[in-house]
Every structure is written in C-alpha cells, then in structure tokens.
C-alpha cells in the first residue's frame, strides 16, 4: 500500500498553514488533499475585507489572505497537492481512501491532520414550520452564488440568525441592490462579531430584531412571506407579538458545525454536542497521530486564529513523526 508520512485533508487556510508548518518543522513527505478544484476553502467566497489584521497586521480580503498561503504551499516541492480529491474513508490505523476523477486511492499515513472545516446549520435543524419553497438558502450558499457564480439569489431578503456570514451577507445584498428587510435573532445578543453588527447591519439601517424568531414560512413555489414573533426566556413565542414580513428570500445563519465525519468514522472519541473529537490537548484526538485543526477543531471567529491553531497542529504532527522515527527532536523546532 502507498505510504505517506503526513496527509492533510482540507486545503483551506487551516490545511495550508498546517502543511507549511509541518514542512518547516522537518516533514518532507506531505500530501495535501482538497476536494474543490482550487485551494483556499471558504475564503474564496469571502471577498470582503476583514482578514489578516492580527496575523499579517494588514487588512486583506479572503482571497488575498488565502492567496499568500497558496503561493507558499505551491512553492514547496515536498508538499504534493491533490485537488478534486475527496476523502471518503478513514480507519483507526490511519488508512485513508480518497476519490478523485479517474482514481480511487487507498494509502497508509503515518500521521494525519484533518482540516476539514465546518458546515452551516440548516433550516431543517431549526424546524421552522410552514412551506418548503425555493428561496431558502444558508448564508454561505447565498455568498457563493453572489461572489463566485455572479448570480443574485433574491431581491427582498430576511436573515434568520445573526452569525457572521449572515451579517456580512446583509451588507452584500444591500450593495447588490436588494432590500434586506430584517435580521432576526432568537437570542438576546447577536451571534456574530460586534464589528459585523455595526458595519453590516446598523450602518445600513437594517432592522435588527433580537429575541425574535421566524415562526412560519409561506410560499408555494418561492418564499412569499414569513411570520415573526417575539420569544420569552425559554424561546417560546409570546402571544400577540406576531407580525409578517414579505420577502422572496430567507437566509439561514445560525452557526457552524465542525465537519468531523471522517474522524468519527475512524472511531476517535467524539463529543456529540459539538461534533468535535474529545481531546485533552489542543488539536489532538484519541487516536495517536491523528490531529485536527481550524474550524474542524473549534469554530473560530477569525481566520487569523485558525492559522495560529493550524501552525501548532503542523508542528505537533512533525514532532509525532520525528519521535516515531527515533530521531531526536531538534531544539529549534518552530
């Protein structure tokens, strides 16, 4: 069977930072798998500026931030990049199977770093009653449609939840000429960063309803309107507070869930609540040599923190490999 010292699953900011760090710490046989046709992960669709302030001390767009890492990874010949490569199976012995056009490959990795990111929570997880027409999007999908595909998902938008992507999309829709009718958050406070509440919602005078929920969706083929109601401390609808908003689009932005199905498949101990592996040390799992970093490890507010976390994971993987090879760990390990 094909063997690799280190396999990294995920070519977003986390996976790239981990790969570079592992290389800089002495690992010379690295395979980086990315299921998309390009590196960069979710940053590719984040065209707004708010990245790199702490890590690069500069204000960058998402593609600019990831671009710096892409250039660096590509320049390192010890990092083999495999795109359109989808990891489908992982065992506890760190045997990984991935599929790419024309190929299914099984390999044994001495160490693995999972940098698989997160997915958005969906409308289905919220149980919003009512119809199921077109026009309901996760905020991230709407972002991709606008920023990557050049399509406008809707013209009269309501945003359910106040996660950062939702807040950023409120501004994006306004700039695209759509009308954003409201942001509706069930909690007492916004879920996303204060900076995004101010710059993306308040500055555009978008009504922001805290302690409110969407209690019903209407529309036969396309979203037509929604019911909104105030909720009490237990998130129950308060009678007599219901009102309606007409809209053709509903964005759902109620948080992210780490994507750790492969780690779960490998039978590492999982925390079912957070969908992350149980570990008593940063970036580790219950399986020796299987590491996790970035949003797959913990949902971070800022990509800068993802990068720092992933640099550490790369170093830990290097340490693990060097120890395993019987070599002594050089003092200068970064």
């Amino acid at each position: 069977m094909l063997e690799k010292d280190l396999v990294i699953v995920g070519g977003g900011p986390a996976g790239m930072a981990a790969a570079i760090s592992a290389y800089e710490n002495g690992v010379s046989d690295i395979l980086l798998l990315e299921r998309d046709q390009y590196l960069g992960g979710i940053l590719n669709q984040c065209v707004h500026t708010s990245f790199g302030i702490s890590y690069f001390k500069e204000v960058l767009t998402g593609p600019e931030y990831s671009g710096r890492f892409i250039n660096k990874v590509k320049a390192i010949d010890k990092i083999e990049i495999s795109l359109k490569s989808f990891a489908v199976n992982l065992t506890k012995d760190k045997i990984l199977t991935f599929i790419k056009p024309g190929l299914i490959q099984k390999l044994k990795a001495k160490a693995l770093i999972m940098a698989t990111g997160a997915r958005e929570r969906t409308r289905e997880m919220l149980h919003i009653p009512g119809a199921r027409p077109a026009g309901i999007f996760s905020a991230g999908l709407a972002q991709k449609l606008i920023n990557i595909e050049g399509l406008l998902p809707g013209k009269e938008v309501v945003i359910a939840g106040s996660g950062d992507i939702g807040l950023i999309m409120a501004r994006r829709f306004v700039l695209e000429g759509a009308k954003v009718k409201a942001v509706i958050e069930i909690q007492k406070q916004a879920r996303g960063l204060v900076r995004n509440v101010v710059q993306c919602v308040e500055d555009f005078e978008i009504p922001f309803y805290l302690q409110h929920k969407i209690s019903r969706i209407y529309g036969k083929n396309r979203v037509e309107r929604i019911d909104v109601a105030r909720v009490d401390e237990n998130f129950q609808e308060i009678a007599g507070t219901k009102f309606q908003l007409e809209c053709d689009t509903l964005l759902i932005s109620v948080g992210l869930i780490p994507e750790n199905e492969l780690i779960e498949m490998a039978q590492a101990k999982m925390d079912k609540k957070t969908n992350t592996p149980v570990s008593n040390e940063l970036n580790k799992t219950s399986i020796a040599g299987l590491f996790v970093c970035g949003n797959a490890f913990r949902i971070y507010d800022l990509v800068d923190s993802v990068t720092k976390d992933s640099v550490l994971a790369g170093r830990q993987a290097a340490e693990y490999l060097i120890r395993g090879s019987g070599r002594t760990i050089p003092a200068g390990l970064k």
Binding site: K84, P101, T122, H127, G130
Partner: protein, 482 residues
Amino acid sequence: MNSYDVAIIGAGAAGASIARELSRYKLNIAVLEKEAECGFGVSKSNSGIIHPGTQNPPNSLKGRLCVQGNILTRSIAKELGVDFQEAGELIVIFDERDLPRLLELKREAEALAVPELRIVDRGWLKENEPNLSPEARLALYAPTAGIISPYRLVYALCENAVRNGVEIHTQAKVENIISLSPARELNARFEIVTLKGTFRASYVINAAGLYADDLSRMAGIDDFTIRPRKGEEFILDKKKQNLTRHLLFPLPSKTSKGILVIRTADGNPMVGPTAEDAKDKDDLSTSDEGLKKVFSSVKRLVPAIDEADIIAYFAGLRPVAGEDFIIRYEDKAPGFINVAGIQSPGLTAAPAIARMVCAMLKKNGLNLRKKIIFHSKRKKPIHLFNIPLSKTQRFIRKDASFGDIVCRCELVSAREVSDAIAGGARTLDGIKFRTRAQGGRCHGTFCTTRLMKILSQETNTPLTAVSKRGLGSEIVKEERTP
C-alpha cells in the same frame, strides 16, 4: 394535431403504472403531466410502504388491489432495478383488552388473502424488535410489508414506458377536455387542451391525483370531489438506522393507519404521517402541532426516538374521495376512465390498478395487441452509495466522472447527476430524489451551485432558469449586474 389511442392524465404512481402496462401493446400513448417532472404530485411525498393489505375494509376495492399490488410490485421492482426491501410490519397493542380488535384486523386481512399473518407475543417482540416499548404486549405480524422509494419507482416506470414508445409531456397541464363524440371517428373522441398544445385521443384515463375531480368534471362527470388529507412526516438521521427492524404501527383508527415508525428506502428512520383534512390542494406546509403529535405518538411505540435527530420533514396530501378508490369506465362519457381517490395504499395498489384499467379498456373496445418486442427491463442506475468502496474502482476506471464527487454528504458523483438528467431530471428536486445529492446533512449548501451548472449545461438552459421544482421555483432571481 397528434392523435393517440390513449391519453393518460397524470404521471404519478397510478398514471405511470398504467402507461408502463399499456406500453406492452401496440398503441399510441401520451402521458400529460402538469408538473416539470413525473411523480411530483402525491407520489413524491408519502411513506413508501408496500402494504401487505392489512387495515383495509373487507370487500373494499383498495384492499383487493393492495394485496395484488404487493405481489406485482416485487417483480416490477426487480425488472426496473428499483430496490425493494421486505421489512414486515407489526401492528402493536399495549393492552390485552385490544386483542379482539387485533384479531378482527387479522380476520379482515385474511379475508382479503393477506398471507402469513400471525399474532406475536411479548417474548417474540423483545427478541425481534428490541427498541420497541417494553409496554407493548402483542402485535399482528405481517411479514410481506415492504419498503420502496416511491419517486424512484415512478421514475423507473416512466423511463421504461418511454423506452417502450410512450410519449411523456411534462409541463402540460390539462385545461379542458372536449368530447368530440359521436360525430368523429373512434380515434378522436376527445380533444384535450393543455398548456403544451392540444392532443386528440380515443380513450382518456384520468389519473390526476388531487385534481382528478376537476378533470372528471371537464368530461362531464361530477359525482365526486377530492378532499386533500394532509400527512406530515419527519425523517431522522441515518446514524439511527438500526432503531427498528420492522415497520411499526399502532392500532389503526377509522381515518388512518395511525402514526408509524418506519424507514425510507435509503435507510433513514421516518416517523409519521399525521392525518388532518387540509383546505388547500397545494398546502404542503408542516406545523409545530404536527411535529408534537407525531413525536408524542411514536415515542409511545419506541421511547428512544428523539426530535434532535430530525434531518428533514415534509407533508403530503392524500387524495380522498370517500372511503374507497374510484376506478371506473364512465358510460356517460364513452372512452373516459376515472382513476380517482387514490389514497393510501395507492402506491402499493398502482400496478394492480394498471391491470384493472387495461381490462376495462379491453372490455370497452380497445384492441390490445402485444408488441413483439417489449423491453421489460431497465438497467439499474449506478449509485456510489450502494456500492462498497472496494468495488468503486471499477466504475471510476470505466468513467472518470464517477470519481468527480459532487455531493459530499451522500457521496454522489458528477456521472450520477448526468445519468439522472438523462433519465428525465429537470429540476434540483428531481436530481435529489434520484441521486440523493442535497439530501444529506448540509442540505445542498455545498453542492447546489455545482448541480445548477451541470443541469444548465446538459439541458442547455440558463442558470437563472434552474429551479427547485419547476416554473416559479427558480433558485436565483437574476444575474448580478456588474
């Protein structure tokens, strides 16, 4: 104007089964369907159970057709490459005082010739259905109950009918039916006016589901109305796929079989349906009350069921026209056959309904001559999720695009999406029902744009025309103005 021997209105389970059955004969057949795809009426949102024939009134037409349909579906599924799983059903009682009612159900079912029925006791239940509530005392066991994917069955029937020469016209809502009799020749007794032009036919079969009353009225028969009866269903995470082994039913009521614990053809546990009269024939909304009703009821059967495992939900409408199906040749409108009020167990009964309709046509003058070549088989579509990883290599070698993964949650490749489109998918829902892409945990967040592009390319339509389920449900409003 094209003339047909038979025009079938509606491509649901009933219409599709009739079309495929008739395609054995030398006939010109057109199916007229108002939706963008076949099966988008009642037949896409139901429980997918191939009922054994229990819980039907004695001497009912639906009971008889259900028992026959259960047998016929097995061979049809095999011929058409659709998975059928014989799961068996248990009608459970919690109080021995209900035993007489259970025995009555058994007797009624035996009168309809439902095979292999028996009463099983607590010990049997404990061993064979471990997660069933310990309070369950006895059950009526019907081993011939099965599970099928209702939409994949309809798609397969339609594809096979087309292969055998049937024309299917989608987005062809029938707006009027004009009787040309008695003056015209036999093969143009009716003129059927649709949104896609006018069709002539000598026989018309009305299998229009919820709208069969409207269609019947157009032909001058107005002695029934269809009332929609809603059923809400909730699908649970596949991680819980071993929750139950059999299909679990409580004692049935007068209007429904009760709220069930079953599973989908893909292995997800499913709970529901409710049974409430709805006002509106397009009201497919779900409700908080429905959710509460379903979960309080099914937790009595299986206490381990948890609302937190819900991954999807939907509602369906049963087309109810009184107690039983209405399947009859209308002497007042010669050439017109009503297939109406096909409530549950309509999916099961569909192949038997098709045979019954064939017999009616024959009796009323249609010459049924068998074709020399009838393609009874359809190649089973390849889905990576059905193939063990160790065998995947073969397919990827044969066609690289089997290795181009589009939907990561359900492992669907670009090739499967193309196959779905070649088989008739024209909408994102149609792709989902055929391939499961967008049907997993992320509900399409990651794959929607890719699917839109493939659909747009392969059907040569602009991205802005790609829809969820047909006209009016386009995914995006317009292209961005740069």
